[in-house]
Symmetry: C2
Subunit: 368 residues, 2 copies
């Protein structure tokens, strides 16, 4: 295997053993042991057959006197596109649907309660091409688009909450949106990406505006969840508001490439989990996507996404990353009671002095 | 060497070589090569003789047309106390002064321009004992206390800006304070710790109040600097305000122990550097400190600090950590022009939507 195809976990476990490995894990992952979840044989067999990495970890919480444990299984899915981007839109989309259906079925067989797909999962990430019209048929309605209809059925079938990040076409206006579908297949609501990159060829303001829906937290059967889409992970106030609004799990569906800060992929969502006392779930697509630039004959660009999806608990412990290159499902069994327990232990909320920051922020803004 | 005495760098470089080591470094430190600084022979010899770890790294920036490079050397000092805590106050303090003088002289011989000591460097960290009167002679004036007088002389002698985190006694009221002394030995100003822990035995509200001096940035000869003391590193808004006020380097002098989040020691200051486009310098004391609890005969407590001081650049690249157990000096040669270059590249400031957050924060606070 090429080094660039390997995760930190692969590299380390090749070479470190025993106490050295434990000490590395203690500092790097926050715990000596990964607390691996027992997975069922059929799911393992099916994943191996299909070239999917299936990994499971658990995060415990202390028993409480007045609250029962609130154990839920979170599912993160990362995948590559299937057909090359010169195929008809409907073929590309159907091929992705077919692949994702299989991934969701495997996750369901592991009892996943809340599942999140990657940013704009039903299409190649053409938002790095600078071109719009050529790709516009990938945009879809957040209420009755093909993705929503497709996932609503799976959500209902498996009693699973599903977060579907799509390119939304709202009556001719595009948004980068995550639709939250509940376990009965009903749409609970949606969130729109709050912060848009203009970094290298990822210049998304050409396609849509920054989100206009604030920082909604969705009260699902399994827990209070929110979605911070991709570039929003760089913004501490974005993470903060989801926390203040009561989130227990914040998903960060992304599409990001190594040259744009892979070294802090493991930093930002993890920092947010600790700072705000919730679980964070970081999801990034995998694979190389090639685009022919239609308005500039002969020109094409290629983008390589590095996967590495992972989960962080509010106490800062994290799972290993999924692969940098293959499709994968990460199952995290978490006890949501840990959120309050960690807040009680660390007191970051209690000591936040938010009133003073609101005032100080206003002063700084007035001076501009 | 015991594993617990080893840094991640020690552990990794024992076992990984060549391309594997490069790939690990790329993801973990943000760059394949540590860009080691050439240190002078005499400083190396003196450090080795005194059991001090001396390490140096550099961070480059692109050349610009209209600004010359602004290369400065930052110095981080971590150290243990010298005498046991049952010795007279003046003996304990003098012994620390003697040790720190040597550390500063070595840093000066490496051409350090801005140097920062650890939190309450001139005393054992008795703030974890719960006792006050027994230790009160360690508190001192921020204008003419022994620490300030001692460091002012060294600052002037070496033309060095020195940040001196002390336990301040302001006419009978204590504060956890960092005094900034300029290269002429004059006091430029001070900062007071904005967020206080009540975590385990570290319950600092028994000693002093949260800082009342906001988020000052000090415009020194060598660059615009600020200080975020210890527990303040858990607060994203604290880091943010220093950035909005123009800081190019933010020091985080600390006193922290492994059981309180060692796994995110490498996360928070690094996240802040990336989010706010400045350098961060994380400093933690080393060694075990034993305290006899004077009001409870027979009871004593012991605290072990894990060092691991490091520097992060605004692009997320970081130096390896200093040792977990020995005194150390970390010299980082940085080009401050990198701050604006990274902001231009990433656009986190441009896309911050601060006006909207100020409003949203006010709304949340009104609802409480």
């Amino acid at each position: 295997m090429e080094n660039r195809e390997r995760s930190i976990k692969n590299i380390i476990e090749d070479k470190l053993t025993g106490d050295q490995l434990k000490e590395f894990n203690r500092i790097y992952y926050g715990r000596e042991d990964h607390c691996t979840l027992k997975l069922n044989d059929e799911a393992i067999r099916k994943s191996e057959e299909d070239g999917i990495q299936l990994a499971g970890y658990s995060f415990k919480a202390a028993n409480e006197d007045t609250r029962p444990p609130r154990v839920v299984k979170l599912g993160l899915v990362q995948h590559s596109i299937v057909l090359t981007t010169d195929n008809p839109v409907h073929s590309q989309r159907n091929a992705i649907f077919y692949k994702v259906k299989n991934l969701i079925e495997i996750a369901a067989s592991e009892g996943v309660n809340i599942l999140c797909l990657q940013e704009t999962w039903a299409m190649p990430f053409f938002l790095c091409t600078g071109e719009k019209e050529a790709w516009s048929e990938f945009a879809e309605s957040a209420t009755n688009g093909l993705s929503v209809l497709f996932l609503a059925e799976l959500a209902k079938k498996h009693g699973m909450v599903i977060i579907s990040p799509i390119l939304e076409d709202d009556n001719g206006t595009w948004w980068n949106t995550a639709v939250v579908i509940n376990e009965e297949g009903r749409i609970l609501g949606k969130h729109r990406k709050n912060h848009l990159p203009s970094v290298g060829s990822f210049s998304e303001t050409a396609y849509y505006s920054p989100g206009d829906l604030g920082h909604a937290v969705f009260d699902t059967k399994y827990g209070r969840i929110a979605v911070n889409i991709c570039y929003g992970r760089h913004h501490a106030l974005n993470w903060l508001m989801f926390g203040l609004n009561g989130a227990e799990v914040v998903f960060n569906p992304s599409a990001t490439v190594a040259e744009f800060g892979e070294s802090f992929w493991g930093i930002e969502a993890r920092n947010a989990a600790v700072a705000n006392g919730y679980f964070t779930c970081s999801i990034n697509r995998v694979g190389t996507e090639e685009f022919t630039i239609k308005t500039e004959p002969g020109k094409s660009i290629s983008r390589n996404f590095y996967g590495s999806s992972y989960v962080t608990a509010p106490n800062g412990c994290r799972t290993p990353s999924l692969s940098r290159v293959t499709d994968g499902i990460l199952v995290a069994e978490v006890n949501l009671n840990l959120c309050r327990q960690v807040k009680d232990q660390w007191g970051f909320n209690m000591t936040s002095r938010l009133n003073e920051y609101a005032e100080e922020l206003n002063q700084v803004l007035l001076q501009k």
